[in-house]
Symmetry: C2
């Protein structure tokens, strides 16, 4: 961050509600934000992110284009009251983030700052020895038009990313556009609508089996509660609704599956047998259709009557749709939006996310600067986050074996562990302590495991914890002056004379920390 | 902390109520603790301190005397909802603390850990170039019997400390014991009690003027609300009640001045005219008397009747006291509790506080270990805090001049600021950048002030911010290769050849950081 021109600071974790009210996010942030009151009854939150605070700071301290570009960052705790915290450090409610905010005079400046951060993030995650990809991403609650996520490839990852087998396209699956593919069947003959009994068949799979059709001949109707209003999304039976696309199309803040009891009580619609026929007339709800749905003829859909579906349902003739658009989630094999080659899909862990915010916050919070012509304009912002604790967890996901963690040297809590084979042997213990102090003085991050445990226990613990390097003082050290050094990642075992150990470790560790291992 | 055997970790800031309920502090901590609920309605607090968390961690992870002593510490934010946050970093509601917790098998072990920390704290504050004193202190809400505060001497300090002019006694004023001094006047003749009109005289000073007596001939009655009950404390008119001593004597948690309206409405007692005569009979409240009061004869006291005082009030004959004890605050000139020489008083800023906790938390939270005989015993604890942000503020209080801060080198945010006299001059700017990179590579914490401002502005800012060392690249550097180096604390100005600058700065800064400046 420093090398890219960043200046480090530390912002408060407790933030006054007033700033969030100014940006408009106090009311829309939702239950992920921890809120509290102080002894005087004033509202505060625990910062889930810091756009409001940094924008306020900027507006108080900076006023001229001559002070730009400005890159400010901190490394500190963030708080998000996750519905389901899980997987240890991968998704906690309290976690460490590195967040940098860029301030530029115009879009060109932002492009430069954004590129600097994009490059810096690539360097950082490479240095962490991670197998990762930068992918196009949705901007979510942070806002802005352009954003990229840095994804560590891991089967345990909660995100899915699509990437092209032919070109360099890569995106978060929720961001991947889907186009209409295959031949449009608009010429198909429209058969008469029929009501069919489908007792107990209330999933797409059940209905397909019961009526002996493929799932792609079924029209799936999904009901959502979007900012308090019901919205129905129609997709082909074998597709999934992409909730992010629905949210973005509607410009909404919160989307949740609609409550089945409410749907039945308020609208008389039995979930499992819901469908678009007569739905608009009956309920006045908004109905969105995926692009594919517009070309789906003689399909099967719920009849809004328990135990019944319609067959030969056709668009326009049988039901109303307010808007057709791209509302489905891409899948493996879909055509690349850039070149058309089939997309591949992998799971990933989001460890970084960078955003072009533009003037979203600076306009809302009056963070203006005087430009070269003395005109007051809103500053153009970007923000750039790394999940520090999550990056550690992701590194462990990728770098371990049956014995434990294999820390990438650049982020290992300690570079070296040193131990005597027999801690009760004064010669060995003295030798180890002396070497420990030498290493420490030389700036090597070293831990002395001076527990009086059997060597086997200490070796096992060293492998489990995953120090890049293990230094052992045994009989050979006392008799011949040779120190045993073992590297965790490669298993390489070498012996060095005591007075050569420091230089050897310094050189080797520096090399490991500066390049991808 | 590492050198003393400490192991660094990081504990959560958000802490579950359950742990505080286990220790018994959830209900007694009072409004200084920030409390909040998560989305599932569970209670949490923002850690004002971490005894509960660390004791819980210990009880889960450690079970044998062989794993002791154990010293665990963190450097992280703490939260206290102060009634009056003030003086910037000196008393904020969010601040950085270094807190270490020691775990030992017995009191002897605790004594060793406590001494280690005491010595380490002395070294740390000396290294910070602070004028400070370690003083005996009250343990307050943290608990335990023995504690010391590290006080930075400063007239702006909120604490007062007493220290002996003859021996090495030093204590927080609230902890300083007061003994009975002077001749006891028990032989004085008791004159008859009289009621005297004292219209509008409701302060000690007013009454003394009105009745033409000294303030030390008046008996002052102070009413407190202690954990919800009214307690009256009697002291001589020229003395102050020491609320900490009252709290400790009563073993109570919270003490506040009693509400005058409540006193009048519930007990018929008009504040300003309150006194002990008939008080016990009338109100049943607890009455405490300072040691001096027991020997105060023919004194003046409020008559519990608006506009009236009694004169010739005498102990036992005229009023009841539940307990006589040391309830007053020491003042300058009081005898030293160790040697009797007169005490001196100075203001100070508390930057560190160490406590012998004993088994207060380990017993409440079942943090036990097996001792050498296989017997389960509660672990013996200590805790040791440094207010990191407050230490910075205290250093600034002590170390500044009319131009700004003079940072002690050990805690300066940057060691060195480097700048070109004319940032637009490419030769100067290039020279500065090159030297900046050299210094940075050598591990010197250096800031490059590359703003395009006049040199006067940059010099003024450098003095204001207070970098220990200022390096200026001007014409002399370009023409003769000589770099100007100025030391903030001494004003010393030297010129060095470019390739000698790094070594010179390294050596000088290392010396400044290792010893008291």
């Amino acid at each position: 961050m420093n090398r890219a021109g960043g200046v480090e600071l530390q912002l408060p974790i407790i933030q006054p509600a007033e700033l969030w009210q100014e940006s408009g996010r106090w009311d829309v942030y939702g239950p992920e934000m921890y809120r509290l009151r102080d002894r005087h009854g004033r509202d505060f939150c625990l910062g889930p992110t810091h756009e409001e605070l940094i924008t306020d700071l900027f507006s108080q301290e900076v006023n001229s284009y001559r002070q730009l570009p400005l890159l400010l960052y901190q490394i500190h705790n963030k708080y998000r009251d996750e519905r389901r915290p899980r997987f240890g450090l991968l998704r906690g409610r309290e976690f460490i983030m590195k967040d940098l905010y860029s301030f530029d005079m115009d879009e060109d400046g932002l492009e430069i700052s954004y590129r600097k951060m994009y490059d810096a993030y690539n360097k950082i995650f490479s240095r962490c020895s991670l197998d990762f990809r930068a992918v196009e991403a949705d901007s979510g609650a942070i806002g802005g038009d352009v954003s990229h996520e840095f994804m560590v490839m891991a089967d345990t990852g909660e995100d899915q990313i699509t990437f092209c087998s032919a070109c360099d396209y890569a995106a978060n699956m929720e961001k991947t556009p889907c186009h209409l593919t295959g031949e449009a069947k608009s010429s198909e003959e429209e058969r008469p609508l029929e009501l069919a009994a489908t007792p107990e068949a209330c999933t797409v799979q059940d209905v397909a089996s019961y009526l002996q059709v493929n799932t792609d001949q079924i029209l799936k109707s999904l009901f959502y509660n979007v900012d308090g209003k019901i919205v129905v999304v129609l997709v082909r039976g074998d597709r999934s609704v992409n909730e992010t696309k629905v949210l973005n199309y509607l410009g909404a803040n919160m989307l949740d599956t609609a409550d089945p009891h409410e749907m039945l009580n308020n609208y008389g619609i039995p979930m499992g047998f819901a469908g678009p026929v007569g739905l608009r007339e009956k309920t006045k709800v908004t109905i969105l259709g995926d692009l594919e749905v517009e070309h789906l003829y003689n399909t099967v859909a719920g009849a809004n009557k328990p135990g019944y579906h319609y067959i030969n349902v056709n668009p326009r003739r049988d039901y109303h749709v307010d808007h057709y658009g791209d509302f489905r989630t891409a899948i493996e094999g879909d055509p690349c939006p850039h070149c058309g080659a089939p997309l591949q899909v992998q799971h990933g862990i989001e460890v970084g996310h960078i955003f072009k915010l533009g003037t979203k916050y600076s306009e809302a919070m009056s963070a203006t600067i005087l430009n070269e012509n003395g005109k007051e304009i809103p500053v153009v912002m970007g923000c750039y986050g790394i999940g520090v604790t999550r990056t550690m967890a992701a590194a462990v996901e990728q770098s371990h074996d049956q014995d434990g963690i294999i820390w990438p040297a650049a982020i290992s809590p300690f570079d070296v562990v040193i131990m005597a084979v027999n801690q009760r042997d004064q010669a060995q213990a003295g030798f180890a302590l002396d070497l420990y102090q030498q290493l420490e003085t030389a700036g090597i991050d070293v831990l002395y495991d001076d527990r009086q445990e059997r060597p086997g226990v200490k070796f096992k613990d060293a492998d489990l914890i995953g120090y890049p390097c293990r230094v052992v003082i045994g009989k050979k050290a006392i008799a011949e002056g040779l120190v045993e050094i073992k590297w965790r990642a490669t298993g390489e075992l070498v012996f060095k004379e005591k007075d050569r150990v420091t230089a050897y470790l310094q050189e080797k560790l520096a090399a490991m920390k500066c390049s991808k291992q």
